[in-house]
């Protein structure tokens, strides 16, 4: 089951079958390299390359747009303000009688930031839509990552599902006793929602205590909890894909840093 939407797990292809560790390292390194690109043109090409990879992995456009939109929404505020707050005024626009100074520099910066964020998000979508959660967790555990980090991810996901089903049961019980949320902002709704959140916190606390007891009862703490039990070797094609993808990103970075001029200088 992929970490993101579940529908594409059955459409397994070459990209889905790639070693999760290679995919994880390639995506992380690519993000580090891509955020150092400043040219909007180069970033556009990078976004196109990742989009092509996503479509080649048979991830639907709807999924890509949906997941990218959610994340972009959170940085939307910053991007929206940049043209009005950054750089020298290029134009002045009048909005409802208010004169707003707009800067071309700010616009370009907002566009570049948006493209950089988009490329990073698309790479994460690529990783999570083509890798199952179990594969990804196993990959993290096999890499030299502190065990507490992988345990944290493991527990978060595991108990997110448990707490989610507890919340659904509570909501069902509320509905069974005739509760219907009439409006989002009224005293009754706020009271019910805050009580539900409070009950969830209390249940989570006692659940955490019981889970800890269950861990202790199986000798937890006697030694490091390590899962490095499954050590499958990556295949040649995994490495070829990883190196090729990173090479493309490196070429884009070199292009951004004036690589074409270096070639001319060499001539």
């Amino acid at each position: 089951m992929p970490c993101g939407r579940e529908n594409y797990s059955k459409k397994k292809n070459f990209i889905h079958n790639l070693d999760a560790r290679v995919k994880l390292i390639t995506c992380m390194l690519s993000i580090v390299l891509l955020v150092n690109i400043y040219s909007a043109k180069v970033l556009t090409v990078a976004v196109a390359v990742i989009l092509f990879s996503l479509l080649a992995a048979r991830v639907s456009l709807k999924t890509i747009v949906g997941r990218a939109a959610i994340t972009l929404f959170f940085i939307g505020g910053i991007l929206l303000f940049l043209p009005f707050t950054h750089g020298k005024t290029t134009w002045v626009i009048s909005l409802a009688g208010i004169a707003l100074p707009v800067s071309l520099e700010g616009l370009v910066l907002a566009g570049t930031l948006a493209l950089r964020t988009l490329s990073a998000i698309l790479l994460m979508v690529f990783l999570t839509e083509t890798t199952t959660r179990a594969e990804l967790l196993s990959a993290i555990k096999q890499l030299p990552v502190p065990p507490v980090f992988s345990q944290l991810i493991d527990f978060t996901w595991r108990y997110f599902m448990v707490i989610k089903s507890e919340l659904q049961r509570m909501q069902r019980a509320q509905k069974a006793r005739g509760y219907v949320m009439k409006a989002y902002f009224n005293l009754q709704t706020l009271k019910i929602v805050s009580q539900t959140i409070g009950a969830m916190f209390m249940r989570s606390y006692s659940r955490a205590e019981r889970v800890h007891w269950a861990m202790l009862s199986r000798a937890y703490g006697a030694r490091d909890w390590t899962y490095k039990m499954h050590n499958n070797r990556a295949r040649i094609e995994d490495y070829v894909w990883g190196i090729s993808f990173l090479a493309i990103v490196l070429i884009l970075l070199m292009w951004d840093k004036g690589g074409s001029q270096w070639i001319q200088l060499l001539k």
């Binding site: 179990a134 009862s217 006697a222």
Partner: protein, 276 residues
């Protein structure tokens, strides 16, 4: 060594001052099936957590196979006593079944090969080998319960404790769990089950320990459960077989407790009726 668990003068108070256990004395012989009963809040779960060293005695002693449960011995004790908790969601916390069953053996410091063997064996015994790569949320309640038991079994404990094992299981799940308990008993393991289910207790246990308000109210064979006054005082009830014959025969003593005893008595009554 014939004693699996020996509890002497055990008392325990929670941090808020609530007295959970008071002057508890009892012994569990090795290889026996013991049922721990009592009303809600009688102290069953608190007592069970002492057997595994999760709670340490504040007063008195708990000995597991001759080893006193203390801070120094808690890891040793945890390898001898396994607990299957009531809610498998508390116990099955790993991202997949294999990892969860391997959790205990890894903590025991076993070699990779030994961990793999033990996990494979436990999955095989519980009949969940096909679920080895499944995430816990993909499993049914009964399957999660089996994973929880496999996780304990993989540690090869001498004593296995079950907290309300039948709770929320459908009849098929209960039947399957009974078979698992039966197999563990045949292997010579000491089994302790905390339950409210008097019918299960009557038909399964060798020894019944009834707790009331944090202390041992009664300790003996399953015939204790036929005592109407005693079970009522302990906040329990008689087994269905006992109640049925008490009603039909209109008497309060010499009543059957188990299904087999009821069957025998019924046969005898029918034979007697035929001979007239």
């Amino acid at each position: 060594m014939d004693t699996a668990i020996k509890v002497s003068n055990l008392s325990y108070h929670y941090q808020d001052g609530t007295e959970a256990l008071r002057d508890i004395f009892f012994t569990v012989p090795r290889g026996k099936r013991v049922v721990l009963m009592g009303h809600n809040g009688a102290g069953k779960s608190t007592l069970l957590l002492h057997f595994n060293g999760i709670f340490l005695p504040q007063q008195g002693t708990v000995e597991v196979l001759g080893i006193p449960v203390s801070e120094e011995n808690e890891n040793r004790v945890r390898q001898l006593v396994g607990i299957v908790f009531q809610d498998p969601d508390d116990q099955v916390f790993s991202s997949n079944v294999w990892d969860d069953v391997a959790f205990g053996p890894i903590n025991m410091g076993l070699s990779k090969e030994e961990v793999k063997n033990r996990v494979a064996e436990a999955l095989q015994i519980l009949g969940i080998d096909s679920l080895r790569n499944h995430a816990p949320y993909q499993l049914s309640y009964g399957q999660k319960k089996r994973v929880a038991i496999a996780g304990v079994l993989a540690m090869a404990p001498e004593i296995i404790i079950f907290d309300e094992p039948m709770a929320f299981l459908d009849p098929r799940g209960q039947e399957s769990l009974l078979n698992i308990l039966h197999n563990f008993h045949r292997q010579g393991k000491t089994l302790i089950v905390a339950t409210h289910d008097v019918d299960f207790a009557a038909n399964w246990a060798d020894q019944v320990v009834i707790l009331k308000e944090g202390t041992v109210f009664a300790d003996g064979g399953v015939e204790l459960l036929a005592d109407a006054e005693l079970v009522a005082e302990a906040g329990l009830r008689q087994p269905v077989i006992t109640r049925l014959f008490a009603e039909v025969l209109g008497k309060e003593t010499d009543l059957p407790v188990t299904f087999d005893q009821g069957k025998e008595l019924l046969k005898a009554l029918i034979d007697k009726h035929k001979s007239f």
